[in-house]
Symmetry: C2
């Protein structure tokens, strides 16, 4: 359906520089650029009301929406929320969801500018996030990667997947120090959008960028497809969150699987020219985050994972082929 | 919950001139103004997949979203759509919903700039509509009505409610000429946003404006509350769609009830200074629509319906008291 959306003419029109298919659509206003992203969060699909605290549902939905702006390098502006409330949810729980959004908006410097509340069969949130840049060329799409670029990733990976695993099956976290287990659970329940880091990368020659919401294999393949290049990612270079290896071992998995296919880490994956790597790394460090080179861009198509076990390689799924 | 949304600080922030609580939020960009509205449309609540053609669901959701921009007098710009698709809905039906949106976007001059597609328990659409004006003062809120103004309404009322009634119970339309019955059904299934008419009113001294999505009694009460005035509406002056009286009679209702409480007419209710009525009426006629004076604005609070039967008066519900 997404492909058909595009074929149906979505994203083509006056004032629209870039339509659906990137992290956000770009519109132009007297030279300035706005990036707008819409995202749905539905109980049973994107979260589970039965296990997630109400406030964390709201905060996480906002984080996911803002992560799309981070991936463009946009300055966040306003957020609009549609709340669909099921009949079995009382007003107190509803206000907790809203409170999570309000708290996140304050933490991340965005204005909750409007919304709509309706009945729905299950709890659902539809978030619209709007960010800005002085010029559309300041916004980083998925399509600018070139052969010779270095593939970089912010922060650490696999933590959100491992956190979900120990929330579902606490015994998998039995070997972890309590603060490590707690950090992993929070990595799943309370992700933070990499807004400052995204702007730092955008300002330091990132040529293509995406946020990691589906796992690095799938999201890397999106950059490869949009840029018309091959991404070669070295599995042995992937930075893992503390505790990921232990949880994976308890579950009989390769930890690299959690980094490649786990998703919801909300880190940023970018391609930078090789002579810009040092400056980009320093700028990201100034924004309080680590940047790791994990691969290279070459001519060709799709995404290849080097130095992975067979299990980890196959966990990346068909998206690996771009 | 809507009240609490506001209390929680929704709509307050840098660059936001008007937050939640009006038809759309207004943001400022180098002097220009953007109006952004978000709306949810959920199967079983806002439409019924069992009786509405798939294309008309998409088109009507877009019309509802754009009607909020019409009520601000904004020039429509872009639309973003979140589609939630249930498992029992095949790709063809899904593309029909989308086709209805694409067709409406072409008819109404907006760009479908982006979207998100997700699984959901029932069909749902969340629409974000963005419109523009040269200055925030060109956008008409609900709060500018003054004692002495004339209350005006565009087009005709009650048709959407009557159309739904004969879709549900065809026998209620037995006394109608086929083309009248067809027009009423289309009034329900295929409303059109009053975009040009809204801009005409905004350009001709409309001081407060709202679109009629919940019935004139409820929506009029919103203007009364936001403006701090009393709206007195003369039931005998309400312009009714052809066939509304016949359908109401068949159902044993007062036709005025359908105009006051029926909702979904997507006409515009506005307050204009009395010495501006003639020019506003001419401007609306130039936009191809009728404008009818239906009441006056006075000091006080709430909304009063004059010359209504007891049944029609009570159908307006508690909202009548503002």
């Amino acid at each position: 359906v997404r492909e058909r959306l595009r074929a149906a003419g979505v994203g083509q029109g006056p004032g629209v520089a870039l339509g659906s298919g990137d992290d956000a659509a770009i519109t132009l206003h007297d030279g300035r650029a706005a990036a707008t992203s819409v995202d749905a969060f539905v109980d049973g699909i994107h979260f589970r009301r039965s296990t997630a605290p109400a406030a964390s549902i709201g905060r996480k939905a906002l984080a996911g929406a803002l992560s799309d702006l981070a991936a463009m390098g946009a300055e966040p502006g306003e957020v609009y929320v549609v709340l669909g409330i099921p009949v079995d949810m009382d007003e107190a729980a509803c206000l907790e969801v809203l409170g999570g959004i309000v708290e996140g908006a304050a933490d991340w410097g965005v204005t909750l500018a409007g919304g709509d509340v309706t009945r729905a069969p299950v709890l659902l949130l539809a978030m619209t996030a709007v960010g800005y840049a002085d010029s559309p060329t300041d916004l980083i799409t998925r399509s600018g990667a070139s052969a010779g670029d270095v593939v970089v990733v912010t922060g650490e990976l696999g933590g959100a997947a491992a956190g979900l695993m120990i929330l579902d099956r606490p015994e998998l976290g039995a070997g972890l120090a309590p603060q490590i287990a707690d950090a992993l659970r929070r990595r799943h329940l309370e992700p933070a959008p990499r807004l400052a880091v995204g702007r730092a990368l955008a300002g330091h020659r990132a040529r293509a960028m995406i946020d990691i919401s589906d796992g690095i294999a799938g999201d890397g393949a999106h950059i490869a497809a949009a840029s018309g290049v091959l991404l070669e990612i070295d599995a042995s270079e992937l930075p893992l969150d503390a505790g990921v290896a232990s949880v994976a071992e308890s579950a009989g998995l390769d930890p690299v699987e959690l980094a490649l296919g786990g998703g919801e880490d909300y880190e940023l994956l970018a391609c930078v020219p090789s002579d810009g790597l040092e400056a980009a790394t320093a700028a990201v460090a100034d924004a309080g985050c680590r940047l790791t080179a994990i691969g290279t861009v070459g001519p060709g198509a799709g995404l290849e994972i080097l130095n992975a076990t067979e299990a980890a390689g196959s966990s990346a799924g068909f998206d690996q082929l771009g």
